[in-house]
Amino acid sequence: MSTSTIVRLPDQSTARIPRMNFLSRENGLLSWLLTSDHKRIAILYLISITFFFFVGGALAGLIRLELLTPQSDLMATDTYNKVFTMHGLIMIFFFLVPSVPATIGNFVLPMMVGAKDLALPKINLLSWYLYIVAGGLMLYTMAVGGVDTGWTFTTPLSTHYLNTHVISAGLAVFVAGFSSIFTGLNFIVTIHKMRCPGMTWFRLPLFVWAHYAASLLMVLGTPVLAITLVLVVLERTVHIGVFDPALGGDPLLFQHLFWFYSHPAVYIMILPGMGVISEVISTFSRKRVFGYTAVAFSSVAIAVFGFFVWAHHMFIMGISNYAALVFSLLTMLVAVPSAIKIFNWSFTLYKGSITFETPMLYAIGFLGLFTIGGMTGVFLGTAGTDIHLTETYFVVAHFHFVMVGGMLMAFLAGIHFWWPKITGRMYPEKISQLAAVVTFIGFNLTFFPQFILGMLGMPRRYASYPPEFQILNVFSTAGATVLGVGYLLPVLYLTWSLKYGKIAGNNPWQATGLEWQTQSPPLTENFTRIPIMDHEAYDYEWLENQQQKEVASA
């Protein structure tokens, strides 16, 4: 820990943003709306998901504000139901699922494998348009009155009892699902077929491995959700169906089909984040990721095991005790590859030359929060404990630790890490470090009390609660305010940096990925010459030699 920074920026007085790059190549709205450049599509996605993140965040703010007092006084209870349902739907399908893959993944994955573009550029653009159509449908749903089934569309509540806009919400998720399928399909094909010469599977950055695993889940899981939602919509329209017990259907069949997608979906959300963490931790400790192969295979293992555990969401719903036993045991399996990752990242830090730039702060936050989130997942996967904890705030805290503490921290780590590559400019370091710390503190203040609330038995999805829970809820709401500031800061200073940030140069972090060995912002076709991969991933000595050679020849 002798060096305080690894940042190596060019001389600011002479440095210029390269005149030819993917941003400057064409101008005008149409050049964006009709682009097939993966980098531009990534930016389109970044803008859209940021928008939906703040819509979902505003809804979260309303939820926390309502829960400030024990009575339901800010809004009526059915409005509260709509608010938390819309919060869930928007955050899951319009932020978390596309967050890292569709933005950062879209931008850097082709460059990491040394390709000029994703394998199917037009399908990539189509995926963004589908996302926009789905987002429009979701906003329409919200404008005409929302939906209050919970994001899980639980039958027969969604098909029979409620008069809210289940159909348009269901269609929105259906369309968003196809957007996600096309992204995943594109990644798998790209990783298989578009790698540059010398880029063997075990030279791929771990970011790519993580995206490969997440893409498998998108391609194999999402269609089952799609057909399930089609059946729900049909059941609602013709009043005949396979899910409503009054009509002879089985609501558990819905749960099986729904969670067959929606459990793997949490790995769709977290795996790309884990990929970001691998890149960031390695770069800021100047070491190859410890146990590269183990981390690579643990991604695939999470994807595969992820398909065998879905019924742990159904322990109290009346599934067979024997099935619960099997699914509970299988759930423990997922803890193994997740732990492998955490341990290997920790060993990467061990004796590394660690520096604490913003991405690293977020990544370290991720390590702690994801570990807590993951471990509490084991409590919930244990059938016996789950019966006490399920449908309480313990579950809410658990998945927010994984999704917000894990994925959102990873997303922000990634955005800061690749910001210089995307825009060619640095974000302001001090204030962003502050934002990272504020986020971490705000997050813990918001969600840690919810573990205790859950243990004490406060149920989720109610607008009111017994007065003795108020003190912890006040902490939680206060934390949410801090968290909100933590999320607003990056929007402000990242926008500021677009014009006033320091020129970053090709490789400000001295990172080894192929995406860093080219200009920032990159050319439309990424590389002037198709690169040849002649070294292992995370080979910092190679980078060192490369730079010495450049100095010698200059």
Binding site: H192, K193, R195, P197, L220, V224, L252, L253, H256, F260, F307, F308, W310, A311, I319, S320, N321, Y322, A323, V326, F327
Partner: protein, 102 residues
């Protein structure tokens, strides 16, 4: 990128297509005929077995999987595998729901 180049496009001859086509028609006739015979539980077994054989013929010859690279074969296999996981793991619940309740 070896996998991209090891695969030479194989043109399947029309004779093979014709043979597959005729066998598919025969199997269709066979499965319909078999349904008119009382085989008890084996009616389902026979019908599905014939359907699997027909599907296999289409996949292997019409869809060229027999002549394709390992990646395509793996994709087909993973499709079948995931379908089995969906059905099989769900059935662990349906089969055992009544256990211990009589």
């Amino acid at each position: 990128m070896t996998e991209a180049h090891e695969h030479q496009r194989h043109i399947v001859s029309p004779k093979v297509y014709l043979a597959v086509f005729l066998s598919l028609l025969c199997l269709t006739a066979l499965t319909t005929a078999a349904s008119f015979v009382e085989l008890y539980v084996f009616n389902v077994v026979v019908a599905l077995a014939i359907a699997v054989i027909k599907a296999a013929l289409v996949v292997l010859f019409f869809m060229h999987v027999r002549y394709s690279n390992r990646l395509t074969k793996l994709t087909v296999a993973s499709g079948i595998f995931m379908f089995c996981v969906l059905v099989g793991m769900t059935l662990t619940d349906y089969f055992t729901r009544a256990w211990g309740q009589w």
